[in-house]
């Protein structure tokens, strides 16, 4: 099929030797690129599915040598990690739902041309893109608000993302105004218009923003480290993974804290830091890797919408 295509095209369009060389170079480069992007993940996957003791011998590349699911069983039985997984899921689901809803609401308000405080609200939000209080003042604020040591410190500070706000606003402004006008003539209030007309019509952009927020929430570890490191019940998967990495990094040989952690259950050497790291890496990235390709069409649109029209 491909051959016919090329043959056909070469009749229509003259392909010079340079063109052919360029194509060969370009396609080989793209294949190299894919290998570089994919190999580390595939390698990690292979290690996570390989027997831990066997992995130490080295030489695992793309395929497990001694296949086992034990690493996953082990990680998913560990209470700390299971709890961390739960918190990660909870903050992702709750954080995304709350943030997208609130951001959409404000975006709707600042998309209404007739709104008397439109400019004021827009500027107040956009300004914060260019400065922030910085780490210490923000930390002290969280402390004064009593958010440290609570789950809500993951959700409340990030309710509205300004970039997302602009993306959604641009989308809503692109919707035909007549829809809102006619609903208003029919006696619909702002809340009805927002819930019954704007939200359903904005689903594509809301999908995009949900992806952005969900990725952010799922991948966060710094706020856990900063605000909740003394409360293990509120730890997240990424933070647990980060602790394992830091331990293996610091010792380079990787045989101290993570080792003790691995041996905590008494089954010595059934798992190793390397296999736990690999397994947790897969658990921590799989949800996103499985979801993002299906939202590609949307996030590309959302990104260019925000990029082109953002203040």
């Amino acid at each position: 099929m491909q051959k016919i295509n090329v043959a056909f095209r070469s009749k229509v369009r003259y392909m010079s030797r340079g063109d052919i060389l360029f194509n060969i170079f370009n396609y080989s480069f793209m294949i190299m690129l894919c290998i570089v992007m994919l190999y580390p993940m595939l390698n990690t996957l292979a290690i996570s599915l390989n027997d831990a003791n066997d992995t130490i011998k080295g030489g695992i590349y793309l395929w497990p040598r001694e296949f086992t699911l034990y690493n996953y069983q082990y990680v998913l039985k560990e209470n700390t990690l299971l709890n961390a997984l739960f918190i990660s899921v909870l903050r992702t689901v709750l954080g995304t739902a709350i943030s997208v809803f609130c951001t959409a609401m404000v975006a709707y308000v600042i998309s209404r041309k007739e709104f008397i405080f439109r400019k004021f609200v827009t500027i107040a939000f956009v300004l914060t893109m260019y400065f922030n209080g910085g780490l210490i003042p923000t930390y002290l604020l969280m402390r004064d608000l009593g958010l440290i040591g609570t789950f809500w410190v993951y959700i409340i500070p990030g309710i509205i993302g300004v970039f997302n706000l602009i993306v959604i606003r641009s989308f809503i402004e692109g919707l035909p105004n007549s829809l809102v006008e006619s609903a208003r003539i029919d006696g619909a209030g702002e809340f009805t218009i927002f819930f019954k007309i704007i939200l359903p019509l904005s689903l594509p952009v809301l999908a995009t923003v949900s992806l952005f927020v969900a990725v952010y929430q799922w991948n966060s570890w710094f706020d856990v480290f900063l605000y909740n490191s003394s409360n293990p019940n509120l730890s997240t998967l990424q933070y647990e993974l980060m602790k394992i990495l830091q331990n293996t990094n610091a010792t380079m040989s990787g045989k101290t804290a993570a080792d003790a952690f691995a041996n905590a259950s008494g089954q010595s050497n059934a798992v190793t830091p390397a296999s736990i790291r690999a397994t947790m890496t897969i658990i921590a990235s799989l949800p996103i890797i499985l979801v993002y390709p299906f939202l590609q069409k949307y996030f590309i649109k959302g990104l260019t919408l925000g990029g082109v029209k953002g203040e």
């Binding site: 260019y130 710094f222 921590a284 996103i288």
Partner: protein
């Protein structure tokens, strides 16, 4: 920028004669739009508390802040902390690291993303193109924790794929402890950033390329322009406004090298090259409790970013280029 099609709709109310009426009209509008106000004002309060109130904390940089004391009893010390910073060797080193990594990331990031976008555009097999693009976006969605784990594993002494490949190719004889040698750190961060974000960064350029009129290419082809000539004389010039805008935005962020890669890949062996401003703030502020000094460093960062953003924008304006505002 907001001159959209809706503007011509009846936004201008019927002219009212005098100021008295204007005031009354204002309150009438407010009451009329109470639903919109109700929908946005709670978030304005949120915005004020979480984004504007922390600015008040900047005052700490001009005090010897001691936690627990009320504001009125804090001791004011003027620019003491700023003076200290610029005599502190550790701070100057941190500043050097930050700038070096920023510049490396900026240059590498721009060149690779633009090149890749152009190469994507030259792929004519739609399905292949889509698959490669999707794969290239993947690392962007990984957390830095995951990415740092992957990178440090790939660079490790035993079993690290980088050492294995370089040895097989005969480029090095002995495996290298990449993260143990400070001089390599900036380069490692640069390459890591490219690996993670190059695909993602092409999106905006591809959108700009998609806006180019295909007739330009057809005409050039008829005139006998080669593939490379078309790239250099049509595609690249069309990308110029996008490049300028992104450059301005990124210049404003030059002191924001990011925090996660440096923190996660840094270790005692490469400390002299890996510590950047954010890590400095974290170390002094949270670990050592020297809030005033850390805040001063944070303020320095924000102010420099602001100045850079505005001057880059101003220069672009002078040169008659596209600009941010």
């Amino acid at each position: 920028m907001e001159l959209e099609k809706n503007v011509r709709k009846e936004t201008s109310p019927p002219m009212l004669p005098k100021k008295v009426k204007k005031k009354r009209k204002f309150w009438k509008t407010v009451i009329q739009q109470r639903a919109l106000i109700l929908m946005s004002f709670p978030f304005l309060i949120w915005l004020f508390v979480f984004k504007y109130v922390p600015l008040w904390g900047w005052t700490m940089a001009f005090q010897d802040y001691r936690p627990g004391l009320p504001f009125s009893e804090q001791e004011w010390v003027g620019l003491k902390h700023f003076k200290f910073l610029f005599q502190d060797e550790a701070f100057l080193r941190v500043l050097r690291n930050t700038l070096a990594m920023s510049v490396i990331n900026l240059v590498l990031g721009f060149v690779t993303a633009i090149t890749l976008a152009i190469l994507f555009n030259e792929l004519h097999n739609g399905k292949f193109k889509r698959i490669v693009q999707t794969i290239s976006y993947m690392p962007h969605f990984l957390s830095w924790v995951v990415a740092a784990g992957i990178i440090s594993y790939a660079l490790s002494l035993e079993n690290g794929i980088v050492n294995i490949v370089l040895q097989k190719l005969g480029i090095i004889d002995e495996p290298i402890l990449w993260l143990g040698i400070g001089e390599y750190f900036w380069g490692i961060i640069g390459v890591s950033e490219v690996w993670k974000n190059v695909g993602w960064n092409t999106i905006i350029y591809l959108a700009a390329i998609a806006m180019i009129d295909p007739e330009q290419y057809e005409a050039a082809e008829i005139d006998g322009a080669s593939r490379l000539q078309r790239i250099f004389y049509i595609t690249l010039p069309s990308l110029k406004p996008t490049i300028v805008i992104l450059l301005i935005l990124n210049l404003g962020n030059i002191l924001e090298t990011g925090f996660e890669p440096q923190y996660l890949l840094g270790n005692p062996m490469n400390l002299d090259y890996s510590e950047n401003l954010d890590i400095f703030v974290l170390k002094y502020g949270i670990s050592m409790g020297n809030f005033s000094l850390a805040t001063a460093a944070g303020i320095f960062k924000t102010v420099v970013s602001f100045i850079l953003l505005f001057s880059a924008n101003h220069i672009a304006k002078r040169l008659g280029q596209a600009r941010l505002f």
